[in-house]
Symmetry: C2
Subunit: 404 residues, 2 copies
């Protein structure tokens, strides 16, 4: 067993990553064998820099308040450690007599945990290495879904609920670009904004299907003819049939035009697709937004289901570390018993480290510009309680009168 544990947070922050941190720190207090919980500032970088804090000295009250706060309370990092970096992590861990290492993060973080685990075994040092899942992209293998995704999905759904009504009030084309370079789950969440027939998003484009500008124009044209307006959810990662991201194609085209003076930034895909629709279809009112960092960091939009599961994933991490005689990753699974509930398993790191899950065919509509009811059924229970309700007027018409 181990007395001292270390926890760190990696990758992009989420609305609930601190729930997992609190889950680990507070669960550890229930086990008399564990007397110290260290935290590393800014992920693995904080370990090699020995930039550590003692979470054992935090009050339960403050840990609970931090759990409700978005973004990584310990700080995060984009470092993707190689073997040498991982061996350095291991040296610090050993020097401090740490017996278990918990890393909350995505598939890169799982890979770091895997390499640190190997370094410890090669040195015959008894270190328990645990990966706790987190990513708004929802692209971790084995997991039914990952903590952080449901809250980000809720933000996207609420954003499109409002954007749909705004677009109905002032008709035209609205295009929202959503995060997710390789997996379309977060973009697909826009479908959950629909509460009535005719509601947008009317079109949803995912990186899992090749994107064609010609089909896009036709889709928008058809939607405008049918509804007199068009709301579109589009993944930042859409790519053409050859796999080249559309954003890259646009950037190359423009950079060439501008003799290298122009470099496209975060809002470029939305801006250029908006302009393309305007020019090609001759439409006046076309607006494009890029949801950017708001979708992962907005304070005050969180799924309570996500909060509970992120907490539990941290708690289970400590329990698995104590009960299982091996290293691994906490994975979330949907229970098959009626209604929605989650269960947790302990999975070998190799099964998800460095790998990416994509949306299954069963979740993508055959026309390639929408999701299926199966996807909505999958996501709906994850969004949590208290979603805003969208109401409409009954619209009893008044007969026209001849005016002079």
């Amino acid at each position: 067993m181990f007395q001292k544990i270390l926890v760190a947070q990696g990758g992009g922050p989420t609305a609930v990553i601190n729930q997992s941190l609190a889950g680990i720190a507070l669960e550890a207090r229930k086990h008399s064998g564990i007397n110290t919980v260290y935290g590393a500032f800014h992920g693995v970088r904080g370990i090699i820099n020995q930039d550590l804090v003692d979470l054992s000295k935090e009050t339960r009250e403050n840990l609970e308040a931090v759990a409700e706060t978005p973004a990584a309370a310990l700080g995060s990092t984009r470092d993707k450690p190689d073997r040498k970096y991982c061996e350095e992590i291991f040296r610090v861990v050993r020097a401090h007599g740490i017996g278990a290492f918990f890393y909350i993060g995505g598939n890169d973080s799982a890979d770091t945990v895997r390499i640190v685990s190997e370094a410890a075994r090669a040195d015959n040092y008894p270190l328990r290495c645990i990966h706790v899942p987190k990513t708004i992209d929802n692209d971790l293998m084995v997991n039914d879904h990952t903590p952080g995704f449901p809250s980000a999905a809720r933000f996207v759904a609420q954003a499109f609920m409002g954007a749909n009504l705004d677009n109905a009030a002032l008709p035209g084309v609205y295009l929202g670009v959503v995060m997710g370079r390789h997996a379309g789950f977060l973009t697909a969440a826009a479908a959950l904004a629909r509460t009535d027939s005719g509601d947008g998003p009317h079109l949803i484009y995912l990186p899992e299907r090749p994107f064609s500008l010609d089909s896009f124009y036709q889709d928008v044209k058809r939607t405008m003819e049918k509804h007199g307006r068009c709301v579109i959810a589009i993944s930042e990662g859409i790519a053409d049939a050859k796999g080249t991201p559309i954003a890259t194609t646009l950037a190359t085209k423009v950079e060439k035009d501008a003799h290298g003076n122009v470099e496209l930034g975060g809002g470029a895909l939305a801006d250029y697709l908006s302009k393309a629709i305007k020019d090609t279809l001759g439409l006046k009112r076309v607006r494009g937004d890029t949801f950017g960092y708001l979708q992962r960091s907005f304070a005050g939009c969180v799924s309570d289901v996500d909060q509970r599961e992120a907490r539990e994933a941290g708690e289970k991490g400590v329990q698995f570390a104590l009960a299982e005689g091996r290293d691994g990753s906490v994975t979330i699974h949907r229970q098959s018993t009626g209604g929605y509930s989650a269960g947790y398993k302990f999975t070998a790191l190799e099964e998800l480290a460095g790998k990416t899950k994509h949306m299954s065919d069963a979740f993508i509509a055959p026309n390639g510009s929408d999701v299926t009811p199966a996807f909505c059924d999958y996501l709906a229970p994850l969004l949590g309680s208290g979603l805003p309700k969208m109401a409409r007027l009954g619209r009893q018409p008044v007969a026209k009168i001849k005016t002079d």
Copy 2:
């Protein structure tokens, strides 16, 4: 007196514009003289097209549900009627025997009400014309603030609360571009995200002060040196000393570079300022977001103070229409009695029609890149109850140990 009234909504939708609609429709039911409430679809355009609905047939329950729903339930319009258009409005109003016209909107809508009022008087037709205030820009004269602004301000504050923590977790420069072409109130609301010393936004740029790229670079550099990171709130309407919008300057520059092939869209200012910081200061991690439509239409981020006041502004509109022997605009005023409370007055249309209010000098910090405590005191009570709380770890450091 009048038996039949007509209501319409104009300009950009807000989170609470339907509260004013419900306020008018439900208040009218309390007065036995009024037996019919019509609504016009898509603002004044719905009047000249006689695209009217009978709101008297809506249930109270549904009107209450619609009141909680963002965006204009009757639809809106960007039409800015001239005298001829207003005379056409008046002809439809007269044909339907309407005795009072309520228009919920900003300063352009107030101007429409003013011209319709004149047309009715010129024709000796007894029409009571009432403007009910609404705008997220908070730029209506006479008013202490306007319905719609507090909820949009809350969105901006919550966005920067999260963006600040995200930036603290992964340090660098973060720049958020906020709506408001001429008035900086909504951008200034970012200041309310701060809950601790060192919190961002560290810099706030408003259209009320000339923007200089050189000062901007120096401000960012100084902030990076002090905090190791920098969060910036910037108005889409920032302009140089000559009054030329920076977005226009950038667009012209780029269009020339690209021989007319490049047209800048909604995200361009954020993208170009981000790139400029990167290039000029040699910084790696610079991110720019444009809040776009989310800040006015996001479902589920609303100030309860704003909801109550928007409702009351509609109710007062009906009361003033019945009690005052003149046309006018409902204006909101801050009561001087201890604590925060709002009062309502009936103001001549000429005092605000077509005019724009800017942030007063007392609200802008002398250095031009921040707001004053007076502004925070002004805005804080408007944001409403239940703002998310941001908690931090106590950060008890662990002593470093020499590793081999």
